[in-house]
């Protein structure tokens, strides 16, 4: 019990301090907040002309999720690379706390920023463009947003674990940015993707989360999609956890914790 409380406290404090670091850096804040807004704005502008309600929801939500994904995919891997540069990665590893307990709240902090930017985007759409996304099932919609962002955070966690071992894998996060847009069906319907890509998009949790959001907005039931999204997110987390131990040992063998 005591250990659980300890772990929860650790996660809480690291999450809080990480948010503080984000808040200090104007660049990071910009990346995480403004980026999704720009995406969504262009989407609203393009699709407003059309006047199709369903399409507006599709585009607006997709664009916003797309921005969050971009910020998350790149930030998760770059963050750890930064820690390597500043020498703190070694200190994190040298500490007795399990590394997964340090990385998870970092990803969580990014998810928090993602959530914030989603809210800002929706408000922005409402007050700057007079577009209110009509949501039929509010609670289903909110749950879908939460699980999408949580699943993205878990994916960020998985990415950051790999950065510990592979010095160059921060580039992986950047490389995943654009494929993620397509895979998740953020902006183009999944139906138009070639068949061989579809299995990939089915194991990409945000696909399901976003589908849940759209269904909830349109008044259909989002719960199955949410459940799949959660299951995938949990799977990412478990894989990350299992990998973190092995990759850490491997990093100690291959001397990849520091720069030299």
């Amino acid at each position: 019990m005591n250990r659980v409380v300890r772990a929860a406290r650790l996660v809480g404090v690291v999450w809080y301090l990480q948010l503080r670091m984000f808040a200090v850096s104007a660049f990071e804040a910009l990346m995480q907040l403004i980026w999704p807004m720009i995406f969504a704005t262009s989407a609203f502008l393009i699709f407003r002309v059309n006047g199709d309600r369903e399409l507006l929801i599709f585009a607006g939500l997709g664009a916003s999720a797309m921005g969050i994904w971009s910020a998350m995919a790149t930030a998760a891997s770059n963050l750890l690379q930064e820690e390597r540069w500043s020498g703190t990665l070694e200190l994190l590893v040298a500490a007795p706390a399990p590394l997964a307990l340090v990385l998870a709240p970092v990803a969580l902090a990014m998810a928090t920023m993602g959530l914030l930017s989603m809210v800002v985007t929706l408000l922005w759409a409402r007050f700057a463009f007079g577009i209110s996304i009509p949501v039929a099932d509010i609670s289903g919609f909110l749950v879908s947003i939460l699980v999408t962002i949580a699943a993205m955070a878990m994916l960020g966690f998985l990415l950051s674990v790999s950065v510990i071992r592979y010095r160059t894998s921060w580039a992986l996060g950047n490389a995943l940015e654009f494929p993620g847009w397509l895979l998740g069906g953020f902006f183009v319907p999944l139906a138009i993707l070639p068949d061989w890509v579809k299995p990939l998009s089915y194991v990409f949790a945000p696909t399901w989360g976003l589908a849940g959001m759209r269904d909830a907005a349109a008044g259909r039931s989002p719960w199955l999609q949410c459940a799949i999204c959660v299951a995938l997110g949990v799977a990412y987390g478990v894989i990350g956890l299992l990998l973190s131990k092995r990759l850490l040992t491997s990093a100690r063998r291959n001397a990849t914790l520091s720069l030299t």
């Binding site: 404090v13 503080r20 670091m21 040298a94 100690r252 001397a255």
Partner: protein, 323 residues
């Protein structure tokens, strides 16, 4: 009774590759068959030139690197087998500007690591205040580390390393790049820590510092142990007699060559000091060379002469230079 740090036949090699198209792989043997032990409460120095393998040795001891072969135990625990058990009982501080969260305040940096080291929430506040006081940063704790000077960062680093009150401390060049007054304060702090019963393993390039602080010293080069003993033992182990320092101006190379061939002279090194030239002549033990050295130098150009007993630096140069 086991030693606090016990290193037996420790080896570590690194594979590095160079070139883009024709990748050539090389193996660097950073630490080779190193053995030594540090006793409880001891302040142990690890000396050696750049690239000798000091940092690599420390990183194996603090569980950041796995040994290629050999065994290292800290507090009786094998660092390769049970890293987690070692981590909570040791502290690590390295010199330089890195290793802090620039965008957090000093206090938040300490909070972060207090949490990572499982310092109980109840005692965190007092512990952090205590440490800030100890390293003379009280009153600046709310400022962001970005704005800290080198010395301040180094002191914050030390506070971080002490958060969980570790039994063993590893200090890798803690005084590097710090002004003389700051370095002295830091040394005083290290002495106080030893008096408080901590076992400390320290690396440094400042011989005076090592001489002043260390109970015992290991000199390593190219990953291998060259000598091990108290500073006094090291000084007497290398066969240096008297050392004569002569400050001159414009001494010709021929004169230096002549001195080298004198009876009883072991080594001669010449270096430039501003507009002066400093000649350090080491004699063989028991030899009286002052007279003959001065005779070999035209006394028109002699500025100052000093005769002294060999220092740790002399011993170090003799050990490392001769290997």
């Amino acid at each position: 009774m086991t030693s606090t740090v016990e290193v037996t036949d420790l080896c570590r090699s690194f594979k590095t590759s160079t070139g883009l198209l024709w990748r050539s792989h090389r193996t660097t043997e950073a630490v080779r068959d190193l053995s030594f032990s540090v006793e409880r409460g001891e302040l142990f120095g690890l000396l050696g030139p750049n690239g000798a393998g000091k940092t690599t040795t420390i990183k194996m001891l603090i569980t950041l690197l796995l040994p290629t072969s050999g065994v290292a135990r800290v507090l009786g625990i094998d660092v390769a087998r049970d890293p987690q058990a070692v981590r909570s009982r040791i502290g690590y501080v390295f010199g330089g500007e890195r290793g802090l969260y620039e965008r957090l305040s000093a206090a938040d940096n300490l909070r972060y690591f207090a949490e990572l080291y499982g310092v109980s929430p109840r005692s965190q506040r007092t512990r952090i205040a205590e440490l800030l006081e100890l390293v003379d940063l009280s009153g600046r704790e709310k400022e962001r580390v970005e704005g800290f000077s080198r010395g301040m960062r180094q002191r914050l680093h030390i506070a971080r390393g002490l958060l969980h009150d570790p039994e063993v401390l590893f200090l890798d060049e803690p005084t590097i790049g710090i002004d003389p007054v700051g370095a002295r304060q830091l040394r005083e702090l290290v002495v106080r820590l030893r008096e408080a019963g901590k076992t400390i393993l320290l690396t440094t390039h400042y011989m005076l510092e090592a001489d002043l602080l260390c109970d015992r010293i290991a000199v390593i080069d190219k990953g291998q142990l060259l000598a091990l003993g108290t500073p006094t033992e090291l000084k007497s182990s290398v066969d240096i007699g008297q050392v004569i320092e002569v400050e001159t101006f414009g001494l010709p190379q021929t004169a230096i060559d002549r001195i080298e061939t004198l009876d009883g002279v072991r080594t001669v090194t010449a270096s430039v000091r501003g507009h002066l030239q400093l000649l350090v002549v080491q004699g063989h033990p028991g030899a009286e060379v002052t007279g003959s050295v001065l005779a070999a130098v035209d006394d028109q150009v002699v500025h100052r002469v000093l005769t002294r007993e060999p220092t740790l630096e002399d011993a170090y140069v003799a050990l490392v230079g001769g290997s």
